[in-house]
Symmetry: none
Subunit: 417 residues, 2 copies
């Protein structure tokens, strides 16, 4: 598989207020073209640092592709530095001078002297047209390496990549290696637990690799299969997918772009049911997650965020005696909350969450992170005690997602799995 290295230049990228969207675009495009991005570098407008980035890139990769620093001003240094690193001398291209003069004539302005450097390239370079600005790009193939220089403004860069760079890349780097990819998403076990469950599969070498990514309580298992041809890759992928599915079982809630919210919404909807919530410590977070999905009004009735005990009693009919005897964070209160919302709403499915999100409010007996989740249908009610570890945000997110996942398992397999 061919390797690419991406460089973004621009002092504004060093300050944090500007996102480097160019490298994201280029990563996606290169991955789609079957080229592996092995690294990215972002540097300010300094010849020394730009040079280090290009040297590093040319050392490691087959293709170095940069954006930015192609303008006419004195802090636009990319082309100069890149050509020096490649040992290529620049000359003036007469047709480029004409093009620039035309550009300015059409705008009824005279061309500033400094723009002349935009007409200079190595003799062996291909000049890439910029249909949206004055700065042309450059495609230089030399000593088995390709260096591609693009302008910084995203509109110009993206356009130039699609129209000028892609055809050249296809020609010089035919996608010999057709990788097949899939992501499996699980909730429940942590990253290291998933690695243990996968065991030998993590270290197998026959044509595929696994990467784990932990995100808001979810673990994503990213599979990349690489065979000689796309068909081989797909076959390898299908094989390893089956093995992982056997090991992770009911813990898998989705694939690729699936979200837990959308998956559960789809299940509720397909079973013709409606859901109502009673949330205490998450206080609207789960309702917000469910309604992030357009069209959720088909299966979502609404929620009560009963943050205070008074709200639990007035809106859900939780008994004062229950709160006093067992406390707001208890299995008993969770059960009364979920029964209360089922009764109020008259819908088929209810979920209730009560817990201590922290950082304050915990005790030795009931520490921050203790959460009760209750699930009820017309006939039955289940309560599960969870002990989450993490800060306030983490506990709330884990509580909301675990509640959703319990509902998913109930809808797929019945009861509380």
């Amino acid at each position: 598989m061919y390797k690419a290295y991406i460089i973004s230049t621009g002092t504004e990228l060093m300050l944090g207020s500007t996102m480097d969207s160019n490298s994201v675009f280029l990563s996606e495009q290169l991955a789609a073209a079957g080229i592996k991005v092995i690294g990215k570098s972002t540097v300010g407008d300094s010849a020394e640092y730009i040079r280090a980035a290009f040297e590093n890139g040319v050392n490691m990769a087959d293709i170095v592709i940069s954006s930015g620093g192609m303008g006419p001003t004195s802090d636009d240094l990319t082309k100069e530095v890149a050509c020096a690193v490649m040992g290529s001398e620049m000359i003036v291209f007469d047709e480029e001078v004409k093009r620039l003069e035309d550009f300015f004539r059409r705008r009824k302005r005279s061309m500033p002297e400094c723009n002349l450097k935009q007409a200079m390239f190595p003799r062996e370079a291909k000049i890439l047209k910029n249909s949206r600005g004055t700065a042309p790009g450059m495609y230089l193939k030399k000593d088995g390496k390709v260096v591609i220089l693009l302008p910084g403004p995203p509109r110009e860069m993206q356009n130039m990549f699609s129209n000028e760079v892609e055809p050249l890349l296809k020609q010089d780097f035919p996608a010999v290696n057709q990788a097949a990819r899939k992501t499996i998403k699980v909730l429940g076990p942590g990253e290291s637990q998933v690695e243990e469950m996968l065991g030998e599969l993590m270290h197998a070498v026959d044509g595929y690799s696994l990467a784990l990514l932990a995100q808001d309580g979810e673990v994503h298992i990213k599979i990349t299969a690489e065979g000689k041809e796309l068909l081989d890759s797909q076959e390898i992928l299908a094989g390893v997918l089956k093995q992982i599915e056997e090991k992770m079982g009911k813990g898998i809630f989705g694939y690729d772009d699936d979200s837990l919210e959308a998956m559960v919404g789809d299940l509720i909807s397909r079973q013709g049911k409606t859901l109502a919530l009673a949330e205490s410590c998450t206080a609207g977070l789960l309702a917000k997650m469910i309604t992030d999905i357009p069209g959720s009004s088909r299966y979502f009735w609404g929620a009560v965020a009963s943050y205070s005990n008074d709200a639990k009693m007035k809106l859900l009919g939780v008994r004062d005696a229950t709160l006093r005897e067992f406390g707001a964070v208890s299995s008993e209160t969770a059960a009364e909350m979920v029964r209360g919302i089922i009764e109020k709403s008259g819908v088929e499915l209810g979920l209730a969450i009560t817990g201590i999100a922290g950082p304050d409010g915990g005790s030795e007996e009931k520490p921050a992170g203790l959460v009760y989740i209750a699930l009820a249908d017309a006939g039955s009610c289940w309560v599960k005690e969870m002990r989450f570890v993490g800060g306030r945000d983490a506990v709330r997110i884990l509580a909301a997602k675990t509640a959703l996942d319990l509902l998913r398992r109930y809808l797929l397999y019945g009861g509380l799995q």
Copy 2:
């Protein structure tokens, strides 16, 4: 000025689907600490490329700071590689082993063998506590360079940076460049509108610069004043601050790290009042935002997320006739929602939101983005019609924040400003 180099590791960052938000956060924080970021590098989970990035960073900068690759699994390589580059041998820290064992014991799980490597550090390193996960960070000062390793999950990384890294950086790299900074936060006008309102102030050159950052409906005006000494900078800052405050007036809701949620919570609390919500299109989002603030139970009663009309009637007493005559998205329904929640809860302050978040559900008369926000106290009720532009998420966030801001203005200035 001290120089820093930022490294982000993770194969997922090479694919384009994951934004490298960590390097953006670190850039901002380092700039604020008076440290100049001279470059960034992003690499996959490969020892060879991570090594190249660290070597490059140590060559160019005083401080190399990385995020990612600190987990327990076999593709977490950052610490190993960074220590090799620095020529530091790692040993097992017994207290770290205990901490990990405790972590797993509390979760009633046994510790996977692979987690042991999270307890290994060079003898000369400072171990950085991770209050939100298992992976500790590392601060290594050696041969005039500092290498800082942080975990990849943004919540863990940001927390560790603020609590553990900042104090060490302040000590080792006192800000020689005495700039004074302040951020003013406004809600309401867009970025270009704020630019217009600021007028000449945007382009002034006498010792300060302004940068605008639009974020979730808020606009942040970032002021950097640079005089010869810190006292000069502070004087320049005070002057421009006063001018901006005059121009932005009541639109300013806070400064620097202030959040709208916390500012409003503080106001309600100081006036000894309690708030209850009725949310339709935002369906829990505003309740979630308010309860993101620890201690919000002091002034937040709870909320009803009345997503369906049935919930509006059953939980809030909105009349069927009102819904049929004016529709769920109407000034009349918003008013009945807010009166309903005030009656139900018996608290002093109520907010209600009903609108069309989109993308579907809109009509020519009532397009997506149309939102009614109602505010009520014991005696009065106000309703405001808003027309937001943007996708589903943007409309929901703008609706929730605008509701909060109306409450802020009511609490500060009375009525609906």
